[in-house]
Symmetry: C2
Subunit: 335 residues, 2 copies
């Protein structure tokens, strides 16, 4: 026999107080005497009462949600950002409503629509490119919007990110400074992964600025580019441009795949070809040789975003752009 679950009114009756007092007892810093609070919590425990945020949300017009969309849940970089976010937001008891877009703007649009219906306190999206409708929805939502992992030309609201193109430029500069000129890039030009595309564009522009040709471009397939695809791409690269001196990959994952392909073919790295990645994933620090890479501080993107949101919830502020400076990390794969 399952009887209806108890409500606040039931707890109130059991504790001999009004529902309002029960409500206050369940809040953080409300004015209830310690004695009554204890009695109320005791009564709630006995009855097996579970606070109903559904009702609370409606009446108080607060959901205590922060909506977050990332391209992929299965990606250590974005996972770090989410971790930074959720740790920063926990202090204020804000819960994360997480969704992944699969690198698909239509899917992002769907997600944003779903999320806005839940009336989040703020919304965080990855990247600066969205469908028109998604953009409109975000603009019209009367909540803080933060775009991350990018520096959009025309931000919707706030931004916590970095220039993917400039980050790759730093790596190109490094190789050119050391006298290497025959450089290649492994990564897709798919519309889907706009950050990957930005990195590729950054590579091409940097090469041109150095007066070098940027024709050694290997498209490794649809994002997210896996280790296996990185390996395949390296196979293509070695076949098509055998005199390549160094290759920059769209991520450490593809870079690691590329490295293993060299190992399988007994192509010595870095002696015969140098390799660099992007993202400073664990695998790149541990593999032999370790991968040169770029660390965009994904955790920090999350924690700075959390800080920003907390301050925005206290007091609205004009749109801000918080720029993160990625760090070049040089290791054995390019030494």
């Amino acid at each position: 026999m399952t009887r209806k679950p108890p409500t606040m009114a039931d707890v109130a009756k059991a504790a001999g107080v009004s529902p309002m007092t029960v409500s206050r007892a369940f809040k953080r810093d409300s004015s209830v005497s310690d004695a009554t609070r204890a009695a109320i919590l005791q009564a709630a425990e006995t009855l097996g009462y579970v606070f109903d945020s559904t009702a609370s949300n409606l009446r108080s017009q607060r959901s205590d949600f922060v909506a977050v969309t990332v391209p992929s849940i299965n990606n250590a970089n974005f996972a770090e950002t989410v971790r930074g976010l959720s740790e920063g937001l926990r202090a204020r008891d804000l819960q994360i409503l997480l969704g992944y877009t699969d690198y698909d703007m239509e899917e992002e649009e769907r997600l944003i629509e779903q999320f806005l219906r839940r009336r989040p306190e703020a919304i965080v999206v990855t990247g600066g490119r969205h469908t028109d409708r998604a953009r409109r929805m975000l603009e019209n939502a009367a909540i803080p919007v933060v775009e991350t992992w990018d520096l959009p030309e025309d931000p919707i609201g706030h931004v916590v990110g970095f220039s993917n193109a400039d980050a790759v430029r730093g790596m190109v500069d490094h190789f050119v400074r050391r006298g290497l000129t025959r450089l290649a890039f492994i990564g897709g030009d798919a519309q889907r992964d706009t950050r990957g595309t930005d990195r590729r564009r950054g590579f091409i522009r940097a090469m041109q600025d150095h007066g070098l040709e940027a024709h050694r471009l290997i498209d490794a397939g649809a994002p997210p580019i896996s280790m296996a695809e990185g390996a395949m791409a390296m196979g293509l690269l070695l076949a098509r441009f055998p005199d390549t001196q160094a290759v920059i990959c769209v991520s450490d994952l593809s870079a690691f795949g590329a490295l293993t392909e060299c190992q399988r073919r007994a192509v010595p790295v870095p002696e015969r070809i140098e390799i660099a990645g992007f993202g400073d994933y664990d695998v790149g620090a541990v593999c032999v040789p370790a991968l040169s890479t770029i660390n965009p501080f994904p955790r920090q993107i999350g924690s700075r975003t959390a800080e920003l949101i907390l301050s925005l919830l206290d007091a609205p502020q004009p749109p801000r752009v918080i720029e993160i400076t990625p760090e070049l990390i040089l290791r054995g794969s390019s030494a």
Copy 2:
């Protein structure tokens, strides 16, 4: 000038119908004529109306949430499970409320409490060990509970999982069958990672059943055990038990770290020592040599759980145990 956002009543007035009709127009298969639905959606679009699930949830007593806790968001295996889950649940427009416990049962308890307040339709947890209070909360929640990634002795409700101990036993058997007897295990015995502990226990029991000593146990630190910790552990192993013939690691990540340590020390794998992991992560399939491992079909755990939940929402059923059979994958690291 920010005026109050429009409600269903506003849309109803604009479209010249009753709020109830607007409500129906926003539902899936409700009886509204195509003409009026179009008019209503048009009016909603014009007004910039966004459906408010907060109110809907309260009145209909449905949240369309499924709560899910995983130990770590930054883990490809659990990410796959979540992906399988969310794809299966999308059909019914169920949203996932995701939280990670950081391999901490206290944190899990906090999460479960937070989640139950949101009145999810079902709740999925990873593993079969919980704090007493967490267990009580789950038992009392009048919703389907699914424990995953394990086969608990005393399940709370439903189960979709496998025996971690038995899976490792399969790997031990494989080595012993091939005549190897000096086997080691890398992984923690921390209370925190109960699945890791189960694998370790499975190793010990299997060794004993073969009449072999199981003293080559290297504790690699607190979970989740990283690649770097796997490498350190391999260093210890080679120092303390130099005659070890094969080592089973608690995960592919630590196994890969161990492999790289062998590469740094020029210890040939598999000639001098064989290595096996757990989880069939990408890295293990791509690295050189590729890692022998155990695939517990994490994606399938998610999709089967989703199926189960969908059927439970249609009609309550007695607790079920759905057992997944992990697959032994043999690759170059143990050939």
